[in-house]
Subunit: 225 residues, 2 copies
């Protein structure tokens, strides 16, 4: 059985991805990151989601990307703003080079366990502000991994980064995930880590819009709706 | 003054690099990693070396790359071997994707502080087994950083990875560093973290050979010489 390392945050995209990779016949090795984000809520959800998806293994990597802040998600001095539809600049929730850091560490894990396939749940459609969700970045990163690992360079076992949701909308993901049996009640999108999702941050707004478009009811409870 | 992020382990190469980047007119932001390596000795040395070089700032990033082992440097079940001149396979001290992980995190730091220059002390000459020391990897990684960061993609501030020792031997580095005032007594190369360097591991052997070739006396004390 082919092994795959799957980046997994406990969010809607990556939980769908766990189930998608399994449906494609992979033995799934999930990897999550505690990188100084504001709350651990998504990691608790991630652990449970990995159990529900019955993955082969689930690693938690801790690293202090908050050592230099620069993002509302890792810097307590920057507030997480409410959604602003007129905002066309880079959101303050952008974490510099986050997907690059995550993919690098995933490559290290993949090399050790002998996996050649790495899955990431990025989409270009909903997140135009996040440059590290673009296909051109994913391809450049794949090329770097294939120059920087013994498996690829010496042992002729190149890596492939799979981003199956690259050109899917979030509502299409929800429809796909529902077919694959994803429990969206155990996914967390809210930038705030309270008992109920806030319903007002960027991430909640995108999620609510996507569920509405999909025609499927979001099982998560919101404080403000 | 231009800012540079310099990868800094406390070793001979990266300590030379701190002084080199300063001599090139950069304001130096050093970054070191506690990634589950066997000993903290090199981090103590790194802190002191950063002070000696009078860097602007020095960040320590902790991450548990030892969550999956795969290297004698991060996995206590794998012994650090003595030097074997007939060995032409990948050394067990190879840490999968290490330089990629380090460069990704350095890019995140650089983006936040507004630096466009990242320095790494790799050389292709002495370390043929480490694929992530090759220029082709460094170039591929630079391309990935320039696709995966807002600074490069949106703000027209591309990054450059400088690897000034790429084609220098370690003895040439020592001669250069001595001219730049590097205190090699405060650098640590030994894979073992005892009070005195072992003198028998790969890294000690390479260092001793390089000092001998340079004609400069190594101020570090060795247990076995």
């Amino acid at each position: 059985m082919k092994k795959a390392v799957v980046l997994h945050s406990g969010g809607l995209d990556s939980t769908t991805l766990l189930h998608y990779a399994k449906s494609e016949g992979y033995e799934v090795y999930a990897i999550s990151f505690e990188y100084g984000q504001r709350h651990d809520k998504e990691l608790d959800v991630a652990k449970k989601a990995a159990q529900i998806a019955d993955v082969k293994d689930h690693k938690l990597v801790t690293l202090n990307l908050n050592a230099w802040g620069g993002s509302a998600l890792t810097d307590s001095d920057i507030d997480v703003p409410d959604y602003n539809p007129d905002e066309d600049t880079i959101p303050v929730t952008y974490v510099p080079a986050r997907n690059m850091v995550f993919l690098s560490i995933a490559a290290s894990y993949a090399e050790v366990i002998g996996a050649q396939d790495i899955f990431i749940g990025v989409s270009e459609v909903d997140y135009s502000g996040y440059v590290d969700c673009r296909e051109s970045f994913i391809k450049a990163m794949e090329a770097a991994i294939n120059q920087g690992t013994v498996a690829a360079v010496e042992n002729n076992k190149p890596f492939k980064i799979h981003a199956p949701f690259q050109y899917m909308t979030k509502s299409e993901e929800i429809i796909l995930g529902t077919k694959l049996g994803v429990d969206y009640g155990n996914t967390w999108s809210c930038y705030n880590g309270e008992d109920e999702a806030c319903g007002t941050c960027d991430s909640c707004k995108l999620r609510l819009k996507a569920f509405k478009e999909s025609g499927i009811k979001d099982p998560v409870k919101y404080k403000h709706l």
